[in-house]
């Protein structure tokens, strides 16, 4: 039997991004014992990188805003395959969740009358994003982290969960190992919340940190939970493209919200050339109107640069493919031009977009107040994830909850910017609350020792193969390359079939990877263990994308470029089948109740 230490909690939270922290706070407030596990140090999770803001219809900057408009915007952005209940709860509860942060020490930017200031963002009809310059994620994570510090939550930092344990079909705990020493730990719990974030690392060009390897998706999947919408991946239109080592790092949409415009190598503002019909009524008809919009003129409509991300990303892709790109394979994003319009533009840009100024100055030697940036699409966010109940966030496995990016439903086919940070706090709270209740109503689950031993044995196998095994980094790089090339922004049946084939060979290679040395803080070993998660989610993405023979939101197929009504009635669902096979099916969408249908219709004009 392998050696390990054991811990026991009522509620165990995996992940310390916005969702995990918010869940931990809620569970702790409910009076149950809470353990929190995260792969990195506290406060470093991916949430820290979020820039633009969090969406909540507080109507501070435009009193026409309300939960109804936010709900309708979210559904339209998601192309109506969202879980309507989640979109509804999110729109209704986000304002309270944001306000509560202020009581915990968050310091948002202010309106002239002293309230939380809200900014414009793509797909949101009114200025809706509460923000702090362009470091909103830092503000969110630090506020939650500091608040958690005083609540008696036990935090296990730099611990990686490698297996989810079940007891007769119910969640029972997890197996993890710590990076510092490479030792194993078994956590038993009455309820487990997954808040592990995204899957960006399945792709070569991504804005995600190394943590985004789809662990929660894969852990849940391997335990028998259902994943939905995995074909919907958000490629953010503006990532850095130069220099190569920073390729993929995000350039916030806030740049466009502040008046930044996209141009091709011919100097043409190409976004005006292709405005989808359903957005025409809300889009500016000329650059002048677009400028007025970003200057908060309420009678103006938004510039086409602020159309949904999937659309902007494809337009950029098209320009580059047509040979109208910038020298390093992107297009130009210009904020410096606003000096034609505002007095001390340089100061203005530095104040509104301090981290962007900093980022380009330090990493690309470029002054964004003087020169345009070069940008191109980057893998940013996964709409798909663990299928949950809209109210409680419980998955199909009793006692297993999911919140944040690893859960699915609220975003449908495409997420609006700013809806993730608010999703984290709305559904993080709900997951914490319902998990605490579940833990009260159910006794301790039994930990299966044999399953623990198996998980540990499997985790140590790369050391047994040692030098003779394959380099885990090579397999990871090959997978990322394939996903990027074959299941990217523009998709084709043959290419995706090829990806699925390759994934099988990568799986075989992953089972042969070897590492040497000691277990302490061993990145190679860590990469080896991440591989199976990346492979599981990649396969789910490719198979789901093959199943959806249409184009919708973040999923664009060159062979089926139209959006088709018969595909608007279900989510593609993936579930583990016998012998490691993947079962792909179509899960019907619950019908939208009439009163919410009416809300959507009202907002269509």
């Amino acid at each position: 039997m392998a050696a390990y230490s054991t811990y026991s909690y009522d509620v165990l939270v995996i992940g310390a991004g916005g969702a995990g922290l918010r869940a931990a706070i809620e569970a702790a407030n409910a009076g149950v014992s809470v353990g929190l596990i995260c792969k990195s140090l506290l406060g470093k999770a991916h949430t820290v990188m979020a820039e633009g803001g969090m969406a909540a219809a507080m109507a501070h900057n435009d009193d026409r805003d309300s939960w109804k408009v936010h709900f309708a915007d979210t559904m339209r952005g998601g192309q109506y395959v969202n879980n309507w209940r989640m979109a509804e709860l999110h729109a209704k509860e986000a304002p309270d969740r944001v306000r509560e942060l202020e009581g915990w020490g968050a310091v948002f930017d202010r309106t002239p009358d002293g309230r939380i200031n809200q900014r414009n963002f793509g797909g949101h009809r009114y200025p809706r994003l509460a923000h702090v310059g362009d470091r909103t994620g830092l503000e969110l994570i630090r506020t939650l982290q500091d608040h958690t510090t005083y609540l008696g939550v036990t935090v296990h930092m730099e611990h990686t969960v490698i297996e989810l344990l079940l007891d007769g079909g119910r969640a029972a705990g997890v197996v993890a190992y710590d990076r510092e020493r490479g030792r194993f730990h078994v956590f038993s719990a009455k309820a487990v919340i997954l808040a592990t974030g995204g899957i960006g690392r399945a792709y070569k060009v991504t804005s995600n940190s190394w943590e985004g390897t789809g662990d929660g998706h894969a852990l849940a999947y391997r335990a028998g939970a259902e994943l939905i919408d995995m074909e919907f991946i958000q490629f953010h239109p503006t990532g850095m493209v130069w220099p190569p080592s920073v390729k993929g790092i995000l350039v916030t949409e806030g740049v466009r919200g502040e008046g930044g415009i996209l141009k091709n190598s011919e100097g043409r503002r190409f976004m005006f050339d292709d405005i989808p019909d359903n957005y025409k009524p809300q889009t500016a008809s000329d650059p002048e109107e677009g400028w007025r919009y970003v200057q908060h003129d309420k009678s103006a409509r938004r510039p086409p640069e602020l159309l949904t991300r999937d659309h902007v990303a494809r337009c950029i892709n098209r320009e580059v493919k047509a040979g109208r790109g910038s020298p390093h394979g992107g297009v130009y994003l210009d904020i410096a031009w606003i000096k034609e319009k505002v007095g001390n533009a340089e100061e203005h840009i530095k104040r509104k977009l301090p981290s962007m100024y900093h980022q380009f100055k330090e990493l690309a030697d470029l002054d964004i107040t003087k020169e345009p940036m070069e940008v191109g699409p980057t893998t940013h966010y996964v709409m798909g994830g663990i299928r949950v109940d809209g109210d409680s966030q419980m998955s199909s496995i009793p006692g297993l909850f999911a919140a944040g990016e690893c859960a699915s439903g609220i975003n449908g086919a495409n997420r609006l910017g700013g809806n993730s940070l608010s999703d984290l706090i709305v559904f993080g709270k709900r997951a914490g609350e319902y998990a605490a209740t579940f833990s009260r109503e159910n006794g301790q689950a039994r930990v299966d020792d044999a399953a623990v031993d198996r998980a540990i044995e499997e985790a140590l196998a790369p050391f047994d193969r040692g030098e003779a095994g394959e380099n885990p980094y090579t397999v990871q790089a090959d997978l990322q390359e394939s996903m990027q090339a074959l299941v990217g922004i523009v998709r084709l049946e043959d290419e995706m079939q090829e990806a699925v084939k390759r994934i099988q060979t990568f799986k075989a290679r992953a089972s042969r990877v070897g590492v040497t040395g000691h277990r302490e803080y061993h990145s190679g070993w860590h990469t080896a263990l991440d591989l199976r998660n990346l492979l599981a989610v990649s396969e789910a993405v490719a198979l789901s994308a093959i199943e959806r023979k249409e184009s919708r939101g973040g999923h664009f197929r060159e062979d089926y470029p139209e959006k088709l009504p018969e595909f608007a009635t279900f989510n593609v669902m993936t579930k583990q089948g016998p012998g490691g096979s993947v079962q792909v099916s179509r899960a019907p969408l619950p019908p939208i109740p009439d009163h919410l249908k009416a809300v959507i219709e009202e907002q269509k004009t």
Partner: protein, 246 residues
Amino acid sequence: MAKATFKIWRTHEGGDGTFQTFHTEVTEGMVVLDVVHKIQAEQANDLAVRWNCKAGKCGSCSAEINGKPRLMCMTRMSQLNLWEPITVEPMRAFPPIKDLVTDVSWNFRVKKTIKKFLPRKPDAPDGTWRMAQRDVDRVQEFRKCIECFLCQDVCHVLRDHNKHDEFIGPRFLVYAANLEMNPLDTEDRVPDLKNEHGIGYCNITKCCTTVCPEHIHITDNAIIPLKERVVSRFYDPITRILRMAK
């Protein structure tokens, strides 16, 4: 393409360590963290390094590069002299774990000793407050902190004099300042700053401000005003008399 020589600190069994030399190629735009990753992928799979965002936002990748405390992900190779070997070693003010990774858990314990945010009653019936932007500018500066702990690393009180039990260090003086200067806060941390948190140890050398990647004016804007509060509370004769008279 250029050649570079890196001397990276490697720890050995038992805890001590030595520099290991690596030769590698660097290309345009690379930062030190890229090179460390390249070496890790090609030459030393078990090389330990902490990082997350690779964009200067999370504060994980702190190290000492050619002896200077810096973020590896924000140090471009083009700023360094490639004719000389480049040394990369862990932060020295914290116990080593492995290679470039140190045990920074002390920082998380210190934070717990600082009294938490305690807002005044909401200003409006809907439970919200009103604050002007100019009243929060200063606090927002402090809240830019990414907890890289480079300031803690460079502060001689911690680094050379090991006063970890008596002095909370510049990072947590910034943290305390952010709470003290939040217009909503009603808690009093001044006695703790003097008695428990050792603010008196700071002799305003400003080394912390020099290394802060977020360009927070740690000494001028956070520490000195806090010191002034301590002085006026405990040492200023007039306030003392007034307090005694109360």
